[in-house]
């Protein structure tokens, strides 16, 4: 398998948040702050990786008819366990993410990848699929949160001590004065608007590279013809 293509498909071409538009509820709710976005993204990545690996390991004993209930049992127990671990060892992050940790159970990305990839592929493929689909989602969430936090609060990485305990509470970047912020950015409509803009930019980038490839191919075919 081409590793470069494997990464490209999962992180860019089929990005679960920007292309498939799966699990948008936590994406829009938790992206008012970049630290919360990273926290939720990493939690989702861990759940995805563990779920994919377990389902891929047990795929031979899971009957096709009852695979979905079994996925749900496994996903819910994994999420509950991770929720308890975060509650115990990352209390500040737990308080920020709140209801969105148990809501990972209902995230379409998890069951979608379990059925599409883990149930049909090897353990290694499933494991890395979980990691990179999760990282793709985290990357999308971080970009949205980066813009929303910068415009709406004028800060960046506010509350970094939630993730890295050794850091000081005030170790964040001040970008804008409080009076220069745009409140709309941190409100739900702003979230939708910024998500739409990011999707548009991504599509524009894709279109640009597609055009470049077409031009390259045309030039190449012309050169080949003249040589003949």
């Amino acid at each position: 398998m081409n590793i470069k293509y494997f990464l490209y498909v999962r992180l860019w071409k089929n990005n679960s948040s920007l292309i498939q538009l799966l699990g948008l509820c936590p994406v829009l709710a938790m992206t008012t702050n970049s630290i919360n976005a990273i926290g939720l993204g990493m939690t989702t990545t861990i759940v995805l990786t563990i779920t994919n690996t377990i389902i891929s390991t047990l795929k031979r004993i899971i009957p096709h008819d009852i695979r979905i209930p079994i996925y749900m049992i496994l996903v819910s127990s994994i999420v509950t366990s991770i929720e308890m671990l975060i509650h115990a060892y990352q209390f500040n992050l737990y308080q920020s993410l709140g209801i969105f940790i148990p809501l990972i159970v209902t995230n379409c990305i998890i069951v979608g990848r379990a059925d599409l990839i883990a149930y049909k592929n090897s353990i290694i493929v499933s494991f890395f699929d979980g990691i990179f689909i999760g990282l793709g989602s985290t990357f999308a969430m971080f970009i949205i949160a980066f813009i929303r936090e910068a415009l709406g609060n004028g800060t960046l990485f506010f509350g970094i001590n939630k993730i890295i305990h050794s850091t000081d509470n005030f170790m964040f970047v001040h970008l804008l004065d409080k009076n220069s912020t745009i409140i709309l950015a941190v409100l739900p409509p702003g979230g939708f608007f910024i998500l739409g803009c990011i999707i548009a930019i991504k599509n524009a980038i894709d279109l640009y590279f597609k055009k470049q490839t077409v031009i390259k191919n045309i030039n190449c075919s012309c050169i080949c013809k003249t040589k003949k």
Binding site: T32, I61, I62, P63, D65, I66, P69, I70, I73, L74, S76, S77, T80, S81, M84, L85, H87, A88, Y89, F91, G152, N153, T181, I183, V186, L187
Partner: protein, 204 residues
């Protein structure tokens, strides 16, 4: 027969996976249970120390009670810390609720002496509009610290209102409902704290 066999097989597999899942969750719970309780206790102590300055806080011994009272905004059970000095009831810290916030309930921690003098107040959680109503939060604005050392005489205290309604309390630009809601909740809570010496025997 084959049909029943398949049903039994499916039932067995779902039961098997459920059992394993429950076992793993129970195991994780047993590992994290004490740590979670410690974290919650630590969090409560941190909150208490933010409301009551440490130079005052360290002179008290405290005892936690659970209480229900109409002055605390709802019918739920609230935490009440009674602060003693030389075995004498001096002050209290109460978790209270402002039920009439602009975007829902606002949970507040209020500390006051039994004579009605406010030691401090902090908003624990709220759903107020970012940039407008969220100025009640200490991380956004120091508005809530303006209640420190104010004395509440009674529920009809005319000074303990927003300036807009002829009182002493400043509101903030663009919002009236949120600060009014917090002000009323703090006033009612302090009135409740003033009654604690009379109802103290019932708490035990």
């Amino acid at each position: 027969m084959k049909k029943y066999q398949k049903i039994l097989q499916s039932a067995f597999l779902i039961s098997f996976f459920s059992t394993i899942s429950i076992a793993s969750v129970v195991y994780i719970n047993s590992i994290t249970k004490n740590k979670i309780i410690n974290q919650q206790e630590q969090e409560k102590n941190i909150l208490l120390e933010t409301v009551v300055p440490s130079k005052i806080y360290n002179t008290f011994t405290k005892k936690l009670y659970n209480i229900q009272n109409q002055f605390l905004g709802d019918n739920k059970t609230h935490n009440l810390w009674i602060l003693f000095k030389n075995q004498k009831l001096e002050a209290a810290v109460v978790e209270t609720t402002a039920p009439d916030g602009y975007s829902g309930s606002i949970n507040i921690l209020v500390a006051a002496y039994c004579n009605g003098k406010i030691i401090g107040a902090r908003v624990l959680s709220h759903k107020e509009t970012p940039g407008i109503g969220d100025k009640i939060d200490i991380s956004i604005s120091n508005w809530i610290t303006k209640f420190n050392n104010i004395v509440v005489s009674s529920l009809q205290d005319k000074n303990f209102r927003l300036k807009k309604y002829g009182g002493q309390i400043e509101q903030f630009t663009g919002a009236t409902i949120t600060p009014q809601s917090v002000t009323n909740a703090i006033k009612k809570t302090v009135i409740f704290i003033k009654t604690i010496p009379t109802i103290f025997n019932q708490l035990k």
